[in-house]
């Protein structure tokens, strides 16, 4: 045992002793990050002083801690990628990474991580890149507090944070804007995405596919070209996020397509054209959410089943729920609907008659979209009232048996 320990420390000690700090500054012998990486060994620290450095796909193939002091600029002058990390245990902090090449043959990225583990990318500013941070086949990565701004060019824009085939990645406190998709996941499992702000991206604020067991918490997705789109995924949790001002005809606060066993709780959907759009999605719990001033709070297609909507607040939406056919096994319970006109004789806080969230006018608009011009007119109010009193066209099965009289306090 002792010999083993000795041998082990004998191996390890030189490594620790040898950990050096290499300084990079303009006008000194070591004037580029590439030189510094060549001079360094595993475990070294590289400090980069303030300045502008040309970096044409600098390869980081050793376990280094690379710190920028005063946000030094790494510029690829639109000729290449900027940084590629192929070693595990790298920490990259405090850089300004700008101007990657754009093109349709390769996904040029500002910071590319490929087949690595335990890497931290933090406090960087990324500007004017094709792809921002690109992770492929990585595990245990942290992407923290980066500000990522794209070029806002519709034809030549990649994703802000792009994950492909990753596991257990933490993405926290980032700001992504003007990219194609703010945050893009494909085959990324067991990741945690929290406290990010993704706004004004060209396509989706958040876009993921085949990414099971991920958790999204406290993020804000605002005013993105097509809102948020999530597809073909199992067991995700979307908690306490805010989806705000995603406006347009095919633009959704959240689009759910073939999502199963998801939990969507505590989110706020404010002023979206459609809050949640659901297609082929089963066994989803939608609970404690606020739907405020949306055009359509929810659009649930007939291909969805076994979904539970409980304890949500629906306030000031033009339409609460719409559908395209017959809904089966969709349960509404204990929600607050501001359009509810029932009474509560026994004073238990829930209304005595059920609320039907699908109005006749919503059905009319479904068939004849032009009739939007008649919204809030006397005749529409009249036919809605008549339909509420004697339901004949609106689906009988969709109703909240116990609507709340007062909104849920959060």
């Amino acid at each position: 045992m002792r010999t083993l320990l000795l041998m082990f420390s004998g191996l390890l000690l030189p490594l620790i002793l040898a950990a050096r700090t290499i300084l990079v500054a303009p006008g000194t012998p070591v004037s580029s990050l590439r030189q510094a990486v060549m001079l360094s060994q595993n475990g070294d620290t590289i400090r980069v002083k303030k300045g502008v450095y040309i970096s044409l796909n600098t390869l980081i193939d050793k376990s280094l801690t690379i710190l920028g002091e005063g946000q030094p600029v790494l510029d690829a002058r639109f000729r290449e990628e900027v940084l590629t990390i192929t070693a595990s245990h790298v920490k990259l902090d405090g850089f300004t990474v700008v101007n990657t090449k754009t093109g349709s043959m390769r996904d040029f990225a500002a910071i590319r991580l490929s087949n690595v583990e335990q890497v931290t990318i933090s406090n960087n500013i990324l500007r004017n890149n094709f792809f921002g941070i690109y992770l492929s086949n990585c595990r245990f990565i942290k992407v923290l507090n980066n500000r990522i701004t794209g070029s806002n060019d519709i034809e030549n824009s990649g994703n802000g944070i792009h994950l492909w085939k990753c596991k257990e990645v933490l993405i926290r406190g980032n700001y992504v804007t003007k990219h194609r998709d703010g945050i893009y996941f494909e085959f990324a499992k067991k990741c945690l995405i929290e406290n990010n702000l993704s706004e004004k991206n060209i396509r989706y604020g958040l876009h993921f596919m085949f990414s099971d067991d991920d958790t999204y918490r406290h993020n804000t997705f605002k005013n993105n070209g097509s809102g948020v789109s999530v597809m073909y995924t199992r067991r995700i949790a979307m908690l306490d996020n805010t989806f705000i001002e995603n406006w347009g005809s095919t633009i959704y606060g959240v689009l759910l397509k073939e999502i199963t066993d998801a939990r969507i709780e505590g989110n706020r959907f404010i002023r979206n054209t459609t809050g949640i759009y659901m297609e082929n999605s089963d066994r989803i719990t939608i609970k404690h959410n606020d739907f405020i001033s949306n055009g359509w709070a929810m659009r649930v297609l007939a291909s969805c089943s076994k979904n539970n909507f409980t304890q949500n607040n629906y306030k000031g939406n033009s339409f609460d729920v719409t559908t395209n056919g017959t809904l089966k096994e969709i349960y509404f319970n204990d929600n607050y609907w501001d359009k509810y006109e029932g009474y509560d004789l026994n004073r238990d806080g829930t209304g005595d008659i059920p609320y039907r969230p699908i109005s006749l006018y919503a059905q009319i608009i479904e068939q004849n979209p032009q009739s939007v011009m008649l919204m809030r007119s006397f005749i529409v109010n009249l036919i809605d009232k008549v339909e509420r009193a004697i339901p004949s066209v609106t689906p009988e099965s969709v109703k909240d048996e116990k609507p709340r009289m007062k909104p849920w306090k959060r």
Binding site: W247, W296, S377
Partner: protein, 255 residues
Amino acid sequence: MLKIAKYIIFDIIRSKVLLAYTLLLLAISLTIFMSDADVTKGLVSITTVILIIVPLVSIVYATTYYFNAAEFTEMLVSQPISRRNILLGKFIGISSSILLAFIIGVCIPVCLFAFSATGITLMVSGYLLTLSFVSLAFLTSTITHDKAKGIGLALMLWFYFSIIFDGLVLLFLYTFADYPLEKAMIVLTALNPIDLARILILLQLDISALMGYTGALYQQFFGSGSGIIFSLLMQLVWILVPLFFALRIFKKKDL
């Protein structure tokens, strides 16, 4: 002209009908705002009220007053005052007193409880709606000769604009559902002052839903300021055109 207006305003303020109208509006607005903490919901309810009650009272009251003051008009005509000045004086007098009722009954509560872009739009559209229906009332009064016919016509107009018209539009939409109706719809709404007022308010309350339409024309209409400008301009047309025709008829009318 202004002297006549002043006289009429003083005359109307003394009458109980307008007082009742003011109190009714005030009661409705205050109850709605007091009973519900949610201001937007209150504004939605007030919208419904404005779109029904304001046109009704404006058109019926203006017509009734016009006929009740027929002798006064005859007296004025015998004086050296042009008929144009008499009619415009009456219009200014009646419309400003009804507007006063609207200001006290709706604008003050809205300013107190829900002063916002939506609130302002609501007040402006109520204003314009009042004016256009008083203008329509002048048209019905000058067209007809006796009071019963005049009021009947006024009621018919109100009923047509607030209910029948939208019903016809709905029917039209279903009949021609296979055709692109965007332009036709915008033109159709311009044919009804209540619809114009409603669209002004919609642009504030339901913009999220209105943005959901694929048609480029709708997007442009709702998305930019052009929808607001269009409805404001058309409202003005609805105030000026009936008044213009009323004036033409009144000038030649044998009292």
